[in-house]
Amino acid sequence: MFDLRLIRAEVLKLRRRRGLMVATAIFTVGAVAIYYAIVALLHLADPGANGAAGGLHGFDATIGLLSLTGAVAGVLVGATAGGADIEAGVFRDLAATGRSRSALFFARVPGAWAILVPAVVAAVGLSAGVALLLEGPGSLTAAAAGQGLAASLVAALLLSAASVGLAALSSGRGMVIGIVLAFQLGLSPILAEIGAIGDLRYAIPAVANARIGGEIADEMALVVAILVVLAWAAVTLGAGLWRTRTQEI
């Protein structure tokens, strides 16, 4: 199902989009760098009022930031990977080669991840490096670093996979970028705070992702969080695959 040549072609299509690459760098490595720069400057300006930038506290803060900005990068890359062929009118020519439409579809997910994983890993690596280098409350441990990396990757990769599916479903990326970001950044935090929906809030991907990052450990089992993330990925990718396989083009 996964063909390396198709995946390489997806990576090429994404890598050549200069604006997308710049945005991905800004929302991952750039976000971490900007955070540390601001906190360090504030600390230098008034050490009494502003704590030191580094340590476990600084690392946790950047991981929290990355779960938002990395998700934005994931949506941008995923939606582009999922919708670019259809939007450019190229998918018809690819399907006319006789190549399985499923293979063409599934190459987009690892293609998007091949762009995102190095960016997120670099961002977490930068964060860990600065957290160790600069003074700050708490000490960064390997376990905390691993948990932070996992949470950042899950946020970016889940939303990129979901965006691949939804972009294929809607045959375009613009609307998907808007809807997914609005859901992730606007609606999810509100839903998570509504007590009336009870345990349903654990089905929100952002809540499950927070659990993977080590939060709300007393409320939600890790395995449930992982299942929620997988279920969202399966539903959105399944919808995109169905559309890709059945649509007349």
């Binding site: 063909d3 040549r5 198709l6 390489r8 072609a9 090429l12 299509k13 050549r16 989009r17 670019a84 450019a88 009118g89 190229v90 018809r92 020519d93 690819l94 399907a95 006319a96 080669t97 006789g98 190549r99 399985s100 063409l104 007349e248 083009i249």
Partner: protein, 312 residues
Amino acid sequence: MTDIAIHTQGLSKHFAQRIALESIDLSVPRGCAFGFLGPNGAGKTTLIRMLLGLAEPTSGTMRLLGHDLPSGRAEALSRVGAIVEEPRFHGHLTGRENLHVHAAARDRAAHDRVDGALHRVGLGRRGDDRVKGYSLGMRQRLGIARCLLCDPELLILDEPVNGLDPAGILEFRGIIRSLVDEGRTVWLSSHLLDEVQKTCDVAAIVDNGRIVAQGTIAELTGGGVRNIDVVASTPARAAALALQMRDVVRTAQHDGALRIDFLPEAPPTPEMVTALLRRLLDGGIEIASVAPVTHSLEERFLDMTTRLEDRS
């Protein structure tokens, strides 16, 4: 290996209440340039989309390069290069990169054919430019190059000369003929009659979703000459004498000449024309010129197809 590249039987495609294609029976021989003619909206692209697996037929059967569709689609399409409507590419990639993206969906050897394909269509020097800077003609040529990546037995080209200038059309015609000379089959879908007549060996005419004629270009244009134009000193007397001949059915004035129509089953042979002229000369008529009348594909096309105003 079958001698037929494409065979369809009873092929139909309906979109809700609208009939796009109805009971299409078509045979395209291998190793020729096949013209698929029809007015806009006649169903040309719909048929191509079904052959390429981009749309499903409502009923009927298809065979492509000896493989039944849809069961043998992957094998068949692995040797088919196609341009459906206008060739589309990723504008932010270079021509070469676009071909490599397409080659990734083909067999491994397709990547090795990229440079050769670019050179063959005259884009060797522009292959590393971004496609968004290409003219329509260059995109058409890049589309042909993309078709060549699979070393195709069959090329399906949908309106390939749209947007080309006269020099580009001439060059394109040369490329098509060279592909046919290599033993490949080329399907040329077009509403440009002159182009099909000049490029193709065999053609079919589709109108309102139905095949109304198919055969060699000579057959479609009426099997050659059926009339001759004679410029005579006394046309009225010449007409009277001509009508006395057994195979002449009608005479009429046409652009200053006397047009003499022969029976459809008895086209004018040199012997018949000689006999006619002898009769006219013996009758004291002076002959200024004699010219055979050939029907163009355009005339036959307009005879057979529905004009836009007739459809409503």
